[in-house]
């Protein structure tokens, strides 16, 4: 009955009542989103602005004053060899690890999307499982596996691939390699799940049609799968880039940044500057802003490249 009344042309009086009701609903809506919005404003936006203001200060500990010249900390960034080294380390991880990981995740997702595949759940669970452990936990497991007198060296010596144990975490190249291996192990399954979710929304007949047209597996992959997954590939690339630029747990726990800071990430250096012996939070804030700007620039570049149509 009431529905009938509502669908009828509203008289001026009920019309006003409906407007009043909408206004009230709109206010309810604002009330609903206020707690979340306030928390984000206080816990993200405000600190982000504060961070910039702090980056214009110098001083040790809690005694801070405006820097002179005002860009002093930013000028110092360009002279800071350690900071340059941590940028270099982070970008080595980014450039080597992210592409390998995304390609492996794409291949695994494509295989798992095959309709004729058996034990699908088993494979998926196994490959996705590394996501169940924390970054600190897996860092400690990898640290144990790659200890000088540890399991990996024992296995390689047992197979006569090496004559003497390798000190994995004490050499620049191998220490970086162990971090990259760790990242690949922890995150490939995670990205695979994104691709699987996207593949499931694609009509399976497009893959079958490609096969009937005589395309082989590799051709189908490059000409059917990859183009259809383009938005998801862009998203995972942005997420992985963002994550890599913020790496901390692995650098801190797995290699402790060593040897001689050659595996240290930017966030690890930032932590060291800001919270360890004789903290310099003004300069730390400048480093944090440098990270923020790099994240923003890389995301913008990727969106630009990813949006391009063939």
């Amino acid at each position: 009955m009431s529905t009938v009344r509502l669908t009828a042309k509203p008289s001026p009086a009920t019309g006003r009542r409906i407007v009043g009701l909408e206004k009230r609903h709109s206010l309810t809506g604002w009330a609903f989103l206020t707690p979340a919005a306030v928390l984000i404003a206080v816990m993200s936006f405000y600190p982000m602005i504060q961070s910039f203001i702090l980056s214009l200060h110098t001083g040790r500990g809690t005694v801070l004053h405006w820097a002179s010249p005002i860009w002093y900390n930013y000028a110092r960034l360009f002279q800071d060899q350690t900071f340059k080294l941590t940028i270099q380390n982070t970008f080595i991880y980014l450039v080597i690890q992210v592409p390998i990981m995304l390609i492996m995740a794409l291949i695994l997702a494509t295989i798992l999307n095959d309709k004729t595949l058996r034990f699908k759940g088993l494979w998926r669970t196994a490959i996705f499982l590394p996501c169940a452990v924390s970054l600190v936990s897996y860092s400690m497991v990898f640290r144990t596996l790659f200890a000088t007198n540890g399991a990996i060296n024992d296995a390689l010596m047992g197979l006569h691939l090496i004559d003497s144990p390798i000190n994995w975490l004490a050499q620049t190249g191998t220490a970086r390699m162990v971090i990259i291996l760790g990242l690949l192990w922890r995150w490939t399954g995670y990205n695979m799940v994104f691709y699987l979710a996207a593949l499931q929304t694609i009509d399976y007949s497009t893959f079958e049609a490609a096969r009937i047209d005589g395309a082989n597996t590799v051709q189908t992959f490059f000409h059917v799968t990859v183009p259809q997954l383009r938005p998801m590939i862009l998203l995972t690339a942005i997420m992985s880039t963002n994550g890599t630029l913020q790496l901390f747990d692995e650098s801190w726990n797995l290699t402790q940044g060593g040897p001689a800071n050659t595996s240290m990430t930017m966030s690890h250096y930032l932590y060291q500057l800001s919270f360890q012996s004789n903290p310099n939070i003004g300069y730390g804030s400048a480093v944090s802003y440098a990270i923020l700007i790099m994240v923003a620039i890389l995301a913008a570049i990727q969106m630009k490249v990813g949006d391009k149509r063939d």
Binding site: H25, T28, G29, W30, A31, P35, A36, A37, L39, I40, M43, S44, Y46, P47, M48, Q50, S51, I107, I111, T116, L117, L122, W123, A126, L129, P130, C131, A132, V133, S134, S137, M140, V141, T144, L145, G150, A151, D154, W185, T188, G189, V193, L196, A197, T201, N242, L245, Q246, F248, D249, W252, N253, L270, Y271, S285, S288, I291, L292, V295, A299
Partner: protein, 269 residues
């Protein structure tokens, strides 16, 4: 023939990928039952040292306190995040207006702010408020996330408008509709959000490391991390500590894997 070869390659890739994925976790589990020397010697069979290791771990570290702190942090973050973000996501979608869309877009921008860029002022804010070392300081920055709001907004999109209208005509208040109509129909979204939030909070390291200055409040991830400072590490004990820290999230993962997958991918579908 090529068809057979293709299938063989497919299964070979899956077997290798699965073994590589599972091996470090298997190693962690068996190592928790072995002596330090056996762990380093790559013993891959379960041993008899589990209780000895547990004894040593409890003697060296306050394991139960760390587990309690991690549980308290993870559970309270999850409960509060679910309430705040579900209400907000629902508010953005059901009462949506141009103004609210603008607010949502601003909030989404924070997804691109690295935590590093807010960490120092957050530390100062909480310290000045006398909240360093407190649970509140650990959980507050993690409660309201654009990601969860987006997830709930997406699911509110599929909430039938007829139900809403019918409930309003029946005279139900807006909050009652949310609690009695929306929550029960969106159970799977809540499950997904709960799983990812709990796992994220349980595994979080950097922020607790920054704000929990005294070791008396340390979480289980901090406890594990402290092992790295020792010159002589008992690897059996370490692997047991890692196993204890990982058990809750591994169990949740194995039971609620689908919810977890929906949680991480849900907001972008």
């Amino acid at each position: 023939m090529t068809r057979k070869l293709r299938r063989a390659v497919m299964y070979a890739v899956l077997v290798i990928a699965s073994l590589l994925s599972v091996f470090p976790l298997y190693f962690m589990i068996v190592s928790a039952t072995n002596t330090s020397a056996q762990v380093l010697g790559a013993r891959l069979l379960p041993g008899l040292q589990l209780l000895t290791n547990l004894h040593a771990l409890m003697a060296q570290q306050d394991l139960l306190a760390a587990l309690w702190h991690s549980s308290l942090n993870a559970v309270s973050t999850t409960v509060l995040a679910l309430i705040v973000c579900a209400v907000a996501g629902y508010g953005f979608e059901v009462y949506h207006s141009r103004g609210k869309d603008a607010v949502m877009n601003i909030l989404l921008l924070t997804m691109m702010i690295p935590f590093a860029a807010t960490m120092i002022p957050l530390f100062r804010m909480f310290s000045e408020a006398g909240l360093a070392n407190s649970t509140l300081a650990v959980i507050l920055p993690a409660i309201s996330t654009p990601f969860l709001i987006l997830l709930f907004r997406q699911s509110a999109r599929s909430f039938p408008h007829e139900i809403l209208d019918a409930a309003r005509i029946d005279g139900l208040g807006e909050l009652t509709i949310f609690v009695r109509m929306f929550i029960p129909t969106m159970r799977s979204t809540f499950a997904a959000a709960a799983v990812i939030t709990f796992m994220g909070a349980w595994n979080n390291f950097l922020w607790p490391r920054v704000i929990l200055i005294s070791n008396s409040q340390q979480t289980i991830t901090m406890l594990i991390s402290n092992f790295r400072a020792g010159y002589v590490i008992d690897y059996g004990v370490l692997m047991l500590a890692v196993l204890v820290a990982s058990l809750p999230t591994m169990i949740i993962f194995l039971i609620l894997q689908r919810s977890f997958a929906n949680g991480i991918t849900g907001a972008v579908q």
